[in-house]
């Protein structure tokens, strides 16, 4: 635990450096492009935090036992929400100071000819029909409310869990169960609204009922991956020796496998329903990510999409089928890193093609402006890791007085070779 402080300082420096570099990008690429990179970074790290929030609440609502020893690490991860809210402020400010720069529909006078359309947003019937939700007030209110709810739920879950370390009172377990019971629907609704407003509305013509579930699946996959990385890190460092056994690794590996299939199910359903109905109001979203209308040739995004199909489903699916690999403390961190990296790519795939040229075609995937995506992800990531490491030494490694801690420490599920 002593190693927590200097590492936290390093993370903070890396985070601030990343943010400073991204700010420098404002001068090079302009606010409208850097804002997209910033949005990618926030939905990536915010997604990890949301996934952890869901995992903690799912743990409580099912009265789970095996995950008690790793729940504490997710609780530390929840410390990042208030910083993520702070880091989101520039995007909220853009609503007032540069409407239309990030989300076109914020500015009714936005000339759609710039992106291959005609008329202005204000004249667009497809916007008018959706204006009840797609307006600056709703955006700001929902964003503030969402972060508020996530911060509040996190604070409740953390406080009760940490308090139990001291007195061992069962009331904290019951309180967290109640928090999870009302927190899960609250978090589900706010997650859906947030991702619809932040990302889906970048192309506000489009609609998909799968969108919230798609983001949820990605969030939990990334959070589980982060969980495996933390478990292996603390195992190698020695903290988790004698705490974790093969069954804990097997179970979290099984969850990663289940959510791999879940992500594929949701993402395929979204694609398949649009492919099958084949109506232009929906297909344009995928066409944009497959070919340039100006030339008729495939664009770079097609290959990103293929990479998602194989890299985000087939590769992890077959890797995680193996029982031995799920127990491997040398292989699983790579699988986890891969899944987290592809989650990032998935977000880039959903966000960036909304930046279009005059023909209405997506700007290419490989463009210099993507440098700011890298710096933003490092910047926001540094802050999130710092928040985790800062929270880490403030409590016990595991919830030592949780009523199910004994069950968790002796967790045994099946024949572990």
């Amino acid at each position: 635990m002593a190693a927590g402080a200097p590492a936290a300082g390093r993370a903070l420096v890396i985070g601030l450096a990343g943010i400073a570099l991204t700010a420098l990008g404002l001068l090079v690429s302009g606010g409208a492009k850097v804002a997209f990179s910033w949005l990618v970074a926030l939905t990536f790290w915010g997604g990890i935090a949301l996934g952890m929030l869901f995992l903690v609440m799912i743990h409580h609502i099912f009265d789970a036992s095996w995950s008690v020893v790793i729940r504490r690490q997710f609780e530390h991860g929840l410390a990042s929400f208030k910083w993520l809210a702070l880091l989101f402020l520039p995007l909220v400010a853009s609503v007032y100071f540069a409407p239309g720069a990030v989300w076109k529909w914020m500015n009714p006078a936005y000339d759609l000819a710039q992106v291959g359309g005609s008329g202005t947003v204000g004249e667009d019937v497809l916007w008018a029909k959706k204006a009840a939700l797609l307006n600056p007030t709703a955006f700001v209110v929902i964003t503030v409310l969402s972060f508020g709810i996530w911060i509040w739920l996190s604070a409740r879950l953390r406080a009760a869990s940490f308090a139990q370390d001291a007195d061992g009172d069962l009331k904290w377990t019951y309180r967290n169960r109640v928090t999870a019971a009302f927190g899960l629907p609250l978090a589900a609704v706010t997650l859906t609204l947030a991702i619809v407003l932040w990302v889906k509305s970048l192309d506000y013509h489009w609609f998909s009922t799968m969108y919230g579930v798609w983001y949820f699946a990605g969030c939990v996959r990334a959070a589980l991956s982060m969980g495996v990385l933390i478990m292996v890190w603390l195992w190698v460092r020695g903290d988790y020796r004698g705490v974790l056994n093969a069954n804990h690794f097997h179970s979290i590996g099984q969850l990663m496998f289940a959510f791999t299939v879940f992500w594929a199910y949701v993402t395929f359903s979204q694609y398949f329903l649009i492919w099958n109905a084949n109506i232009p109001e929906e297909t344009f979203w995928y066409n944009l990510r497959e070919m340039n209308s100006a030339t008729g040739f495939a664009n770079q995004w097609k290959w990103v999409g293929m990479l998602l199909l194989f890299g985000h489903f087939f590769v992890p699916f077959f890797l995680l089928l193996s029982y031995k690999r799920k127990l491997s403390r040398t292989q699983m961190p790579w699988v986890a890193l891969w899944i987290a990296a592809i989650f990032l790519l998935d977000l880039i795939y959903n966000i960036w093609p909304s930046k279009k040229d005059g023909n209405g075609d997506a700007l290419p995937f490989l463009q210099l402006h993507q440098v700011w995506t890298v710096t933003a992800v490092i910047g926001v990531g540094g802050i999130c890791v710092w928040a985790y490491l800062r929270s880490f030494p403030t409590t016990k490694l595991i919830p030592i007085r949780d009523p199910r801690i004994g069950e968790s420490l002796t967790y045994h599920e099946s024949s572990a070779d």
């Binding site: 395929f268 398949f272 492919w275 099958n276 084949n278 029982y323 024949s415 572990a416 070779d417």
Partner: protein, 177 residues
């Protein structure tokens, strides 16, 4: 009565006793033997030196069969046997064959898992020599049994009996085949 018995059965009073007895029998190199306990004992499989179940491999075969059945069935019915245009779509595309293939993957995996489990456990088994033993009733209630079968290459009536005695087994009796 046949000269060669089915095997030897020994009774143990506590879970730790049978656990350590299992370790002793495992280390003595026996292969055809089993423990009978009233409830699952965590870690007993390891103490017995049991390998992981082979059922997952059978499940995988079922899954692959299910997926290919789905894909080829859709191809056969809508592109080969009776080509039919639906909604301007191609005769065959993995896109619309996928939901069916996905369902059949799950269905065949489930069948293979259940079937594989039955097969590997030689179920259904309506008779087993241990059922004749007087101890079996206690073994399903509050005692713990170790049964070593005579077909085990290491089986020797006197030596095996001595081993079970050394492991702390009581009421060691021969099982009628």
């Amino acid at each position: 009565m046949a000269a060669q018995p089915y095997g030897l059965v020994a009774v143990f009073d506590t879970a730790p006793a049978v656990y350590h007895a299992a370790e002793t029998v495992r280390d003595a190199g026996y292969k055809c033997w089993d423990c009978i306990t009233p409830f699952p004992i965590h870690g007993l499989d390891r103490a017995m030196g049991l390998r992981r179940s082979k059922v997952p491999r059978i499940s995988l075969v079922g899954g692959v069969l299910g997926f290919t059945t789905g894909m080829s069935m859709i191809w056969f019915t809508s592109a080969y046997d009776y080509p039919l245009l639906v909604g301007g779509k191609p005769y065959f595309s993995p896109m619309f064959a996928f939901p069916v293939s996905y369902e059949l993957t799950i269905l065949f995996t489930a069948f293979a898992t259940i079937g594989g489990m039955f097969l590997l456990n030689r179920l259904p088994m309506h008779y087993h020599p241990v059922l004749k033993s007087d101890h079996i009733v206690r073994g399903l209630d509050d005692k713990f049994l170790v049964v070593i079968e005579a077909r085990d290459p290491k089986f020797n009536l006197a030596a095996t009996r001595a081993l079970l005695e050394k492991a702390g087994g009581r009421e060691i009796t021969e099982l009628e085949a």
